[in-house]
Amino acid sequence: MNDRAEFTAGLMKALPSLRAFAISLSGRAERADDLVQDTLMRAWANADSFQPGTNLNAWLFTILRNLFHSDYRKRRREVQDEDGAYAARLSVQASQDAHLDVQDFRLALESLPPDQREALLLVGASGFSYEEAAEICQCAVGTIKSRVNRARTKLAEILSIDGPEDLSADARSRSVTAQSGA
């Protein structure tokens, strides 16, 4: 029973990062909460298959990711309108100036293909190594590296980030050329 108590404590501790991953993966807070709830239920039901001492967070992220992808495939055709409505609601929320930079980033992140987005989130934000991220995504380490790299390149393009300082508006068109020449 001690193991179980430790397991519960681990789940509790993982909640903020699970939820952050779910929100940034799905782009929708309500759906993210469904994902987190399903992840907790599934983790609980499969607690026996978790080996104490191994990385609980990686195990939980794997569950959440798998749930997200089976759900994503199912819902892909249903959500077009919903997406638009959600974006509209968010733009209303983004009223504070200090918040705008983050909102811009969020939108750019959402425009990435899901496989690149999740690779970047795992490695760049959630603190997993390339190896751990590869295990979570059930793919090769090289694939993760490639996806992270593509994600960064795409974000730099969208956000017009080019070197030490931000680009001025008139220099935006040059960013693509500068990058491919680098």
Partner: protein
């Protein structure tokens, strides 16, 4: 040295996608401030309640 090795690997994978170190750092900073906001959001009560409920159920089953 390590960086050279890493970038050599990446070159094999994505020759056309080499990314400047400054750009990488700036994106990293933006990503983390975006993510920190999410991490600092309050956790909905229902998750904690759910875990407490599951835990209680487990204890009861363990006792009977």
């Amino acid at each position: 040295m390590k960086r050279k090795q890493a970038s050599a690997e990446l070159e094999n994978l994505d020759e056309e996608l080499q990314i400047d170190e400054h750009i990488q750092r700036r994106i990293g900073t933006k990503l983390r401030s975006y993510y920190d906001e999410l991490l600092n959001e309050p956790i909905p009560e229902k998750f904690v309640e759910l875990l407490v409920k599951l835990d209680e159920k487990e204890r009861q089953e363990g006792q009977s």
